[in-house]
Symmetry: D2
Subunit: 494 residues, 4 copies
């Protein structure tokens, strides 16, 4: 959820790339429910949205750039999408450019009938598979990794749609939460490690799937359970539900960053309240890195729960020392006299009367490039803070993500460039601390990280990737000499 | 600032009608500064925005419906507005309909030269004055009350522009903060009682005026002082500043609702931090109306500072029991199965894991029609709260405003219709308390309300209007039998 | 009617500035009729359109840039304009810039009630009158000359609306066809000389006014008669019609260029079919300036009727040697290799198979700057024409127009710069002839021009202006030394 | 070219479905030339336009709904299309719906590289081929028949691109003029019978292809020759040109309706000026069906050349008895009083002063449904014509087209429903005559139609289709009982 006040000023942020939603066996209002569900998932992808529906005879699709509300709030838009089954997608552009062709759900008319797919995640061998398919005469209509799955299904020689889909997914590597529609029903599927989330709910006779549980609340549905890692759930139009495990059993490794940043605080992920997990991270931070200060100040909005946790554990008062503007989104023409350089921001402002003359603990969710953190520290000092202690509710972010999160290239990540002390100097803080990896695991309910078999995907912190990365390996072989010099962090700012 | 999660669903909200900003003696970037300044005042008026500039030869004006960012963020839009003096306006439609003609600044080519005016407030005898002017041949181009001032200036027989303006303002009654531009300089003026706010700042050689101090931060200017009630400040192009008091000296009565709701928490109003005033109201509430509960939950975002104050005073933990969505603005087509009636909202959601099984104190800034409060209480109960105690950070809102605030008609105001107990029953709370009038005055720094000569305009709470209301009186005489039966509050919901 | 194929390439064209339409005493569909009527008058003004209506209680107005069809073809647009009386206006921008504020009908709320006015023509002392009004405190909302009339009405001390209007028009000088609406009915009025046209029609119980008779056909109304020069016709809601002659009786001098160019060929103007007048001009041309050639080729579309007349009189075959494209309006990016300079045009093309090896007579309606004529001659030669004889269906256009026609400044008019022979050389024709002034008068039904008291306004040909030109005289006094040296035509191209 | 005044009122018209244009070996301005060329072909397809270009490295494509000028007149749009080779397409929707996906040129990334195709015509076995391809796993991105060719190329096992294309075209049946671009050059190809037109031109070093010769004039290119029926011309980047005849030699059968209606009058088609062909049809009509009348009146604009021919042959004067409005395109809200039923039209009007009291010969290009002809006759009578003789510059249009022309279903065609006498009664004419088939052939330069081997495709007149119609046959077998009762024309209007 792109809530960070400096987010679009300098690209110093992370983006989840997608949210998916599907509903089957409603009484004809599947698209309206899907629009509401996607709207609740808007924070997972703000650049484009799409919905496909099925009315027993044919599929209907409508896709557009921009927010769900811009594309799916009118009666006309919903009337174009009749039927009792629908699935939708919100997207932040990553793989494949931002054109309308890449907006999902993707749809194809296969010999076996219509096939619609919505995908959150990233297929790490998509480039390799695509080359093979094109060499056999396949024509791709998008640059999306997801289209690979469709072509694999289209050319699979298995007889049933379920077998074709399983056949296709066995060739695929990486992270995915999928919602598939065919003229016979809906299938929801999560990758063998469950890296990307997928939840299941119910509303009267309907079955609902969504990336996060908040989408269920938006339509009055009740949360039933997570789709399990490696599970494929089939729902037919007669209401029957069958579950499959095409990849056998694997220990799960869901993305720990869903807790730290992506998911909405009122969602339940991996069996735990995101809000409570974030508060618990704040508590851990206060235990691990206490601070002699006057106030706890969150970087709004994503730092708020951890700041509450820190405040409650430490006994330091929680105060809104930074006020976030509700009217952001465009960059204004700046007068030339350096308003920008004086630390002024249109997106938030220091609450000087609270901050002035105080020693403050700033709580933020993460440090990516560090430029934002520097600006915030400077803004607090400009407003009269006498000491600024920075506490980060995640571990140092030092590695790229190949599972569907848009991360700056590694050479831009502050934690990949510097050690802790240099980072503190870079952001000009009086002290700097991250929560420990084990503290993070404790906050999300584990005793500690099991290094032999970690309970989460934490590759962005540890570099320990849970799958093969075929396309990356090929690119690295092609361009070995261009790779980032991993062993020598640079201490100077870029 | 329209931050209330239910705001545009049922009209249960208040709107400030305007914000003004002006800057003189920049080096040619007056419009860019004005755009940034207005953007910081966006919460005071979100329906339209306008900027006029002057480059020593002529005036340029650009106005548009929608937000400042939609109209003034591009280089093209700013390039249309050259010059070293500019003034702007953001508007929430009240008097005069929503057409572009009513978007300010208003401009007229008078015999003495160009005349531009931006106005926050409401002239309570505008209708009467307009009739007189039209009967003499004046042709109005808008339905705005502000245009009356221009015609009074145009037809004044005094020689200088300052005398003409003073002549005009002496005929005018009500509330106003004005920024006027002529080919000779800028004038900023506040009504005799200072009902509406106006602040003065400096940036290098430039002088800046704005409705709130946050606008100074947005352009790197420093806050100097409030324009005083009844003060008219003239700034010339040579930098000279003269202050006038055309109405003599009056005791000030600024709008106390600026502290309660309108101003941004990081603004300074009437010499006091708005954030601190709101926290102090929360403290007063905790002292006056304590509560045996588990959690303090703010109605975001405007209830947050008071909730922090309540939490700190009471020792009850502050928790985000309601999560606000950042993607609101359009009403979606609702599935017919009653999602709306089950208390579901797209704009926020209960944070069930925090609320469930708990006794909570809800803190909101005010109760207007009461329908919103009812929905919030129901949402908390649906999420499992065992008790919901409602605490309001203002006094009962029982009277209309004739000074530039858009208030539902009196027959819709819950506090005009019911006594406290009935209100508690209406919103289905386990207990309900408002801060007392004297508690409110204490929170904003006074010892208590001086009833002979109140320090603030608090007519919305007390019905004690500080000016004549000429147009209202005439309408009431015209339609005495249609008036609201003030003496018999009705206890049933509408 | 801007039908000339080169029109928007180089500004070498004339524009009528307005068309007006009004209808009263329909049964509630006045706006729909007005939209159809204006659409038929679209050729008189293509930059903006507006309609005002009255439903017995209030006036409604809608105005927009662009064509009638873009603004008034939807049910929504018409539904905004209820009532049984309406008037509209199409505009080609001349006096007053192109902003929406200048789009007519103009409307004002006077003390005596609403007042709406639509005006075709130009008031030649508007600047002088405006200054006087502003010095008395009047505030203008547009830069249109028409607004002067409203202010004169607003400040007139006569008691009735008819008297106020007459009072105002007595102060006004120039050309006008007006349609005025008040809460008591409609008034249609033509200037004392009848320079601009205004026609009256009937449809069932309704009375209709329009600039041209084609508008009657568009709504199924029948043409009744011309509004006479200096006549003011009042129509009340009870159907009564009264005619007034506030300026006494004057000999009429309608604009002869309505016959030559402005009016649609299927209109009746000054009692004569425009198509027949144009054919008769062609006949005159053939009699006065015969030619030994193979074909008569019109410059489409405005040259077609005169070419038919020339062909029938001369016996030379009429052929489409120039084909006009129906898809024009935007200027394309040109490849850099000089496609433009080779005489290529997107708006028309030579019909080479007809023209090649032939001696042709080209018939055009007029020569303004001459650059278009040169291009056409070159295009014909490029297509293989062996001789090109140019015949012009009007007299040499050598003087500006102050009566509502947009003419290039005099120094750009070819006939003001050169004598006949030099003009022929300039446009590279083998021969060049204009119809004579007396031939022109004969074609429109007169015996010859009465020089003591000409039957038409032909100032653009003769420089004999029928009214005072107050604003022009003042400007010329202000800048006598800048004036165009009238006596020495320059023979070189600019 | 949709020039018919009633065209979009009642669907009584024919539409060519496409125009194509390509240019190779320019110096980097291929897209700008293509935009100009397509603009000149706008009459062949007004619903959508697209251009693809190639700069030696990659392909660029831009497509949009609406006219060429709306999509390709800005520098931004052309800058998106760099390169020295480009091809474009204008489209009137027929096969495949109006969505953007069907707008050409279509593009695919094949294993052998990029492949772009623009197609005018219709593939009459596209449905059958598509089914086969999908059953093998092909995924179609459009519903266009053209995409079949791409998939056939993608899956062809021949080694070179030329062989793959030839292989694909051998499987295809119907009418096509194609422009193909690959990373190695351009290919232009016409179906074996040359049903759809394709012309070749030169401009400096560049080679140009276009549906009509007018496109060459628009860019300053010279016409070289027709691409011959069944010819495939390859142009490489080194300027070498090779011609192929993959289908052997066949007698040509170009579409005779290009002469009658589709092509612009200033085009050369099948070696003959279209304008002269149309005039010659008028001459034939005058010889075959003379008339005792006063005037010849064309239905503008498409009837004009034939009317000139009729006038010159008969000696009857040619007059503009119908004036066409230049401002059409939207349907206005009609007042309810029946303006529509009284024969009033916004698109044209009777020139009453010319028509009144006269016996007229109306010349139109064709009769499709007949409703338009009826309206025109009624309009002439309403305007006072005493006799209306209808002469049609083509033969009775009684059969559908399967080669890329959008024709109403056969049951709507007047000539399929009635014999000549009934048609005359239906349109209320005093006499009615069509040109004879042999007269038509004489007008276009043949002695007569050779029935054993007709020189043109005239299936719309004769029902003699020159190719197999595989998809039609299958549909007819599927639904034999639903077919139109061919043998019993119905005499009543629908």
């Amino acid at each position: 959820m792109n809530l960070h006040p400096f987010a679009d000023e300098n690209g110093d942020t992370l983006h989840e790339e997608c949210g998916v939603f599907g509903v089957i066996n409603t009484e004809g209002e599947a698209a309206a429910m899907t629009a509401l569900g996607l709207h609740a998932l808007q924070h997972r992808g703000q650049e484009a949205a799409g919905i496909s529906s099925f009315d027993g005879k044919q599929f209907y699709t409508r896709r557009g750039l921009g927010h769900v509300a811009e594309n799916f709030s009118t009666a006309e838009s919903i009337d174009e999408l009749p039927g009792f089954m629908a699935a939708g997608h919100v997207r932040y552009s990553t793989t494949g450019g931002a054109g309308l062709r890449n907006v999902q759900p993707l749809f194809a008319d296969l010999a076996s009938g219509g096939f619609s797919i919505a995908h959150n995640g990233n297929i790490s061998n998509a480039g390799t598979l695509r080359e093979e398919l094109v060499s056999k005469g396949a024509i791709f209509q998008s640059t999306s990794d997801t289209e690979v799955i469709i072509h694999l299904v289209a050319t699979s020689r298995y007889p049933t749609m379920l077998d074709k889909l399983t056949d296709a997914l066995r060739l695929v590597e990486g992270a995915y939460a999928l919602i598939v529609m065919t003229p016979r029903g809906m299938a929801a599927c999560r990758d063998p490690l469950g890296i990307r989330p997928l939840q299941m709910g119910r509303k009267d006779g309907a079955v609902v799937f969504a990336s996060e549980t908040v989408a269920f609340g938006a339509i009055g549905a009740t949360f039933e359970r997570e789709v399990e890692p490696g599970e494929l759930i089939e729902v037919d139009f007669d209401g029957s539900i069958r579950t499959h495990r095409p990849f056998g059993n694997n220990p799960a490794r869901p993305c720990i960053f869903e807790h730290v940043y992506f998911s909405r605080p009122d969602s339940i992920f991996a069996g735990r309240s995101v809000y409570e997990a974030r508060k618990a991270i704040g508590t851990q931070l206060a235990l691990e890195s206490p601070c002699d200060a006057d106030l706890v100040v969150p970087v709004p909005d994503s730092g708020v729960p951890a700041a509450i946790g820190y405040s409650q554990q430490s006994g330091l008062p929680f105060e809104l020392g930074i006020i976030r503007s509700h009217y952001v989104g465009r960059t204004f023409i700046q007068p030339s006299d350096g308003a920008r350089h004086s630390g002024v921001s249109r997106k938030h402002s220091a609450n000087r009367s609270i901050v002035e003359g105080k020693r403050i603990v700033l709580i933020d969710d993460s440090i990516v490039r560090g430029t934002t953190s520097l600006k915030i520290v400077e803004m607090m000092r400009d407003a009269g803070a006498t000491e600024v202690h920075f506490r980060v509710a995640s571990a140092p972010f030092a590695h790229g993500c190949y599972y569907g999160v848009d991360v700056p290239e590694r050479s831009k990540l502050l934690a990949a460039r510097m050690k802790l002390e240099a980072m503190q100097t870079f952001i000009k803080a009086d002290s700097l601390a991250f929560v420990s990896i084990d503290g993070l695991y404790r906050a999300v309910g584990e005793e500690k990280r099991k290094s032999s078999c970690p309970q989460f995907c934490d590759a962005c912190f540890t570099g320990d990737y849970p799958t093969r990365l075929t396309d990356v390996s090929r690119r690295e072989q092609d361009a070995a000499q261009l790779s980032f010099p991993d062993t020598k962090p640079v201490d100077e700012p870029v």
